[in-house]
Symmetry: C2
Subunit: 345 residues, 2 copies
């Protein structure tokens, strides 16, 4: 017989009780920590390197839908998207703080599931949870994570720094997360219209996972380090390739040319694009949430870059007055425009 999990109201534990409960099994991974959870502030020894800070707020109904986002995946993703920002600076994430606003519909066990995902991501990427705030909301779940990382000053890579003729590279493949979301949305509608229908994701497991459980690309950062390559500029792809390319161009005061035929797209993304009757490069350009790395390297590093697994050269930087163009397989150059997701619309 399956053992039933006891479900408790959060008010039974209270704020300090809930925090104690959720953080009781945290072991410290980074030896620089002097004081973690449990005082007015966390303290760490930062004397060896520069410190980096990034923060992201995920809102129920805006950034995620609990109908198809399991809470454990959601916790993992909330951490992952922040770590991705630290890796995109060529730095090492080390600490996070987690702020939660929870409506009364959540049980202690639901928040445990969320925390399980948060802790899993922390463990996988050697990151310590060092603080946070837990409070109630009148409706919905809000997750704000601040990630703190470190790096030697000269290792850090910014959005600015690219030079003319630098190669534009991307990790992994693009567009999958957006297409996964479209599939989830479609199945949600079918599920809600007829509760007898079970979602069908056969053959699309990869793009569903891209949406629900993105992986920050620590592996790419490590591969580049091992190959002795420091990117000249870098950003993570959260809003779609177009939007991120425009950021690199703007900050580096350059133009760019990217080639459709070079953009890495997963076979499942191609299939899903066909099913939704859209050009498969559209989700790559404008879809967002892939959390791959977009970076530039000097053309002298071409051979070394080509040897790195899961990195593709998709174009090159050019002078600003040469424009910012996407070159399709057939036809005219298209000016790049940021059509990524606008969270304020």
């Amino acid at each position: 017989m399956e053992k039933k999990r006891k479900i408790r109201q959060i008010s039974e534990l209270g704020e300090f009780g809930l925090i104690d409960h959720l953080t009781s099994d945290l072991s410290i991974l980074n030896s620089e920590i002097i004081k973690s959870v449990g005082d007015d502030a966390a303290v760490f020894d930062s004397s060896k390197e520069c410190t980096l800070v990034t923060t992201d707020l995920l809102v129920e109904g805006v950034h995620f839908n609990l109908i198809y986002s399991p809470l454990k995946h959601l916790g993992y993703k909330a951490v992952a998207v922040n770590l991705s920002d630290i890796y995109a600076m060529n730095a090492t994430p080390k600490y996070i703080t987690v702020s939660l606003a929870i409506s009364s519909k959540f049980s202690v066990e639901a928040i445990e599931d969320l925390y399980e995902g948060i802790k899993l991501a922390c463990k996988r990427f050697d990151v310590d949870l060092i603080g946070g705030d837990t409070t109630s909301s009148l409706s919905g779940l809000f997750i704000n994570i601040t990630a703190i990382g470190s790096a030697p000053k000269d290792d850090i890579v910014y959005r600015k720094g690219a030079s003319k003729n630098d190669l534009i590279c991307v990790s992994g493949d693009l567009g999958g997360a957006y297409l996964g979301l479209q599939l989830l949305e479609r199945e949600k509608k079918m599920f809600l219209s007829d509760t007898g229908v079970q979602p069908k994701f056969d053959g699309y497991e990869y793009i569903i996972e891209r949406q629900l459980k993105p992986e920050p690309r620590r592996d790419i950062i490590n591969s580049l380090k091992q190959a002795g390559i420091r990117p000249t500029s870098m950003i993570d792809i959260s809003d779609g390739l177009s939007s991120e390319l425009l950021h690199l161009c703007k900050h580096s005061d350059l133009g760019c040319k990217v080639f459709e035929e070079k953009i890495p797209i997963h076979p499942q993304s191609v299939l899903a694009s066909e099913m939704f009757r859209i050009d498969s490069s559209l989700p790559a350009l404008n879809g967002g949430e892939d959390y791959e790395l977009l970076f530039t390297v000097p053309i002298s590093k071409k051979e070394e870059i080509e040897k790195i697994k899961d990195v593709t050269i998709i174009g090159y930087m050019c002078k600003k007055d040469e424009g910012k163009y996407f070159i399709p397989r057939n036809g005219q150059e298209l000016e790049l425009k940021a059509q990524g997701w606008n969270p304020l619309l």
Copy 2:
């Protein structure tokens, strides 16, 4: 003729437009900043001191009510409560990140007001806004601020560290913020029941301000430093004196005795307590949001402490088995219990 302020929808600017608009006039105060707003993460040189991190999430309808909280005050308070946590570690706040989730009822101008308060607090306390996230919410306003500070390792004061016989000290006066809130709540009800009635706060300006615009006690931290006193333990009073005293006792593994007659209470708090027919020490013990500092010092520092403006000795730490007691003017010792506000009830 009064010039009308143009009101714009946030969607007119978009996320990046809004962020650019709100952060365009930020000047950098801390020279350790290498990269502020505008990349995947902010970067600062942390090589000289330890780094401290704290975070707080304020939720509309739970932590604030826009009927009586002007947005500028709210922005100021959201920063202030975080800086208070850094000061409570005997450290210097240096940076903040600001995450906002905004419902569609807010205009660009409303968010400008909020940011004006945020920037005012930053300016007053020499803190730089180095990053954030701005997104939408389906309902209500959510403000998550992460404050980052620094201090030499040996200067940092924790909740643990007090010794038997250490004097318990408190800055400022207690209970005002809670009583200010009660007044605001009462006037809100009257205002809502009859729109002709204007709120009356004559004679209660101080406690209203205590609620709406608390001041983190940098001055006390500086006074203590000047007097050569390093507290043995410290915490800021956000949940009421009882709750915070119990934290110091728990972390320092001690008991305590505090005396009602010593607890500093402002004349306006005494008057308001009389009006609400409650004992004026109750808001001090259990009210919360005063953001004063509660700390312990060795008894050998008694004379120096007595010379510091706005600091009051209210009791002493004792052995754990002697208990944690509040000693009223007349009558029996009362065991201290945390009856502070529970955000999860």
